[in-house]
């Protein structure tokens, strides 16, 4: 089905993303809502974690990230990973935001509190896992987050973070052991 070598190495998620972005580039801009639905929660979790702040800030940054992605969509190379591209946008945005705050305390943010909109049982489970995640190294947390929250395969995580697959596997194993 796929003709190019790039497509052959793409994951199913990447192929779906590429199809959607193609539609957006073809003028069916409403298709962008699909990627928003797909990556919106992951992006908001990302900002909520990175910026260690209130939920409104995470929401604002999420909207801004998608706005940037939408406005820059022409620079996205079809066939590459949208997830990686979009996460880079999120990363730059988080850095910009951190710089704008100029708060040294951001270096070691306190464990974020479970969101109030979460049903209690889920919130408690989430709180437990969040606490455990803060015992991991930053890289291990990134690996974990990409694997679970961004729904990536081990190979995708390695590609996004520029790490060897073996390193990602080790980090993932460490993270899971912490949570067992």
């Amino acid at each position: 089905m796929n003709t190019g070598s790039i497509d052959d190495t793409q994951s199913e998620n990447d192929r779906n993303d590429t199809r959607i972005i193609s539609e957006v580039l073809d003028g069916k801009v409403d298709a962008f809502h699909v990627v928003f639905e797909r990556y919106g929660p992951a992006a908001r979790y990302y900002f909520w974690n990175r910026c260690g702040e209130d939920r409104e800030t995470a929401e604002d940054l999420t909207q801004e990230a998608f706005l940037r992605a939408y406005r820059s969509i022409r620079t996205f190379q079809l066939g590459s990973s949208f997830k990686k591209w979009f996460r880079t946008i999120c990363n730059h945005l988080a850095i910009d935001h951190a710089k704008s705050l100029k708060a040294a305390s951001l270096q070691a943010p306190a464990p974020p509190k479970a969101p109030p909109s979460c049903p209690a049982q889920i919130a408690v489970k989430r709180q437990i896992i969040e606490e455990a995640l803060h015992l991991l190294s930053l890289r291990q947390r990134e690996v974990f987050e990409l694997k679970y929250v961004w729904d990536s395969t081990v190979e995708e995580v390695a590609q996004i973070l520029g790490l060897p697959v073996g390193t990602v596997k080790t980090d993932l194993s460490q993270a899971r052991k912490r949570l067992m």
Binding site: V24, L25, D26, G27, V29, D30, F32, H33, F36, G40, P41, A42, A43, R44, Y45, W48, A58, E59, T62, Q63, F66, L67, R68, Y70, R71, S72, I73, R74, T75, F76, Q77, S80, K84, W85, T88, I89, H92, D96, A114, P115, S117, C118, P119, I122, A123, K125, R126, I129, Y148, V149, D151, T153, V154, K169, L172, S173, R176, K177, L179, M180
Partner: protein, 315 residues
């Protein structure tokens, strides 16, 4: 036979914990845990952890769903490629263009001199982008005089010498030997040099070149695009955000310059000596029927912003 201590447990655990889905056991694992309590317990523990993480992710999806995303109206995807437009829209668009644009211009084109005295601009556009100064020519050779709106965002224009565009949002762009498309929310620069002044912060404006997209945050900067697509950016005031074709985004602040190669490689620092600093617009090479009331010369050297001469390299 149940065993209390199995040499395979730790290896299996390690393998499962490193895998994409620790709940997926191989046939050999399944066969083994039938008889090994240790391994069965370990596999169950891993599976339970994974199930808990699944709930964790579901919780995040539930709690972190952002509010509705509003698509901006001035998006860079507002210019769909012709091939992507359904046939009936193409027919409609063609009819509209024929009625509003082509027919009025055909009449003066048939004058004895062959000169195209376009005194009235095309009426189809919003008029959000106007030529404030200089000579700008459409790709088909028609000259659009100063004061005229550039009405079709998907149309390629060229300027000869210096020209200036005025956008309704207050942004002004000085052009030198530029090939470009203009639309209310920004400009696509194919080649040449532009100097952009965005009047205030928060204003939405973008400049796209073959290798980058510039997000503008109320500022003043220069962009040069060479034949290859290689792009140089120099910011004199404010801050811009540069996203390359490699999907990398860089901020560029006042006093900073950078060059992005045709392959998208980012080089921060002064624009190199190797970057073309002279732009000479070719006239007639691609448009043999160029007709201009201003009699544009066949080759023009123009003084650049600052004091340099710029040459537009032909495509």
């Amino acid at each position: 036979m149940n065993r209390t201590s199995c040499s395979q447990t730790s290896r299996m655990m390690e393998r499962l914990l490193e895998s994409d889905d620790p709940r997926k056991l191989t046939q050999a694992d399944r066969d083994h845990i039938e008889t090994c309590v240790d391994c069965r317990t370990a596999a169950a523990r891993v599976a339970a952890t994974e199930a808990g993480l699944g709930e964790f992710v579901e919780g995040i999806r539930l709690a972190e769903s952002p509010g509705r995303f509003k698509l901006p109206t001035d998006s860079p995807v507002a210019m769909p490629e012709v091939s992507a437009i359904p046939a009936f829209l193409l027919v409609g668009a063609f009819a509209l263009v024929l009625i509003l644009t082509v027919l009025p211009f055909l009449r003066p084109a048939r004058t004895e001199t062959g000169v195209t005295p376009i005194s009235t601009p095309a009426q189809s556009g919003s008029g959000d982008v106007r030529i404030a100064l200089g000579t700008i020519m459409r790709a088909d050779g028609w000259v659009v005089p100063p004061g005229s709106p550039i009405t079709s965002s998907s149309e390629l224009f060229r300027c000869y010498g210096n020209a200036r565009l005025q956008f309704s949002n207050g942004t002004s762009i000085s052009l030198q030997g530029a090939k470009f498309q203009a639309f209310p929310g920004g400009l696509v620069l194919k080649q040449g040099q532009i100097e952009v002044a965005v009047p205030k912060k928060g204003l939405v404006f973008s400049v796209t070149t073959p290798v980058i997209v510039l997000g503008i945050r109320g500022t003043h900067f220069i962009v040069r695009v060479a034949e290859s697509g290689e792009t140089a950016v120099s910011v004199s005031e404010g801050e811009i955000s540069v996203t390359t074709v490699r999907n990398e985004e860089y901020p560029l602040r006042a006093g900073n310059s950078a060059t992005v190669s045709a392959q998208g490689a980012w080089v921060f620092g002064p624009i190199g000596a190797g970057f073309p600093s002279t732009f000479t617009p070719e006239i007639g090479s691609q448009n043999p029927e160029v007709r201009s009331p201003t009699s544009a010369p066949s080759s023009i050297s123009v003084t650049g912003i600052g004091s340099r001469s710029e040459t537009l390299l032909d495509e």
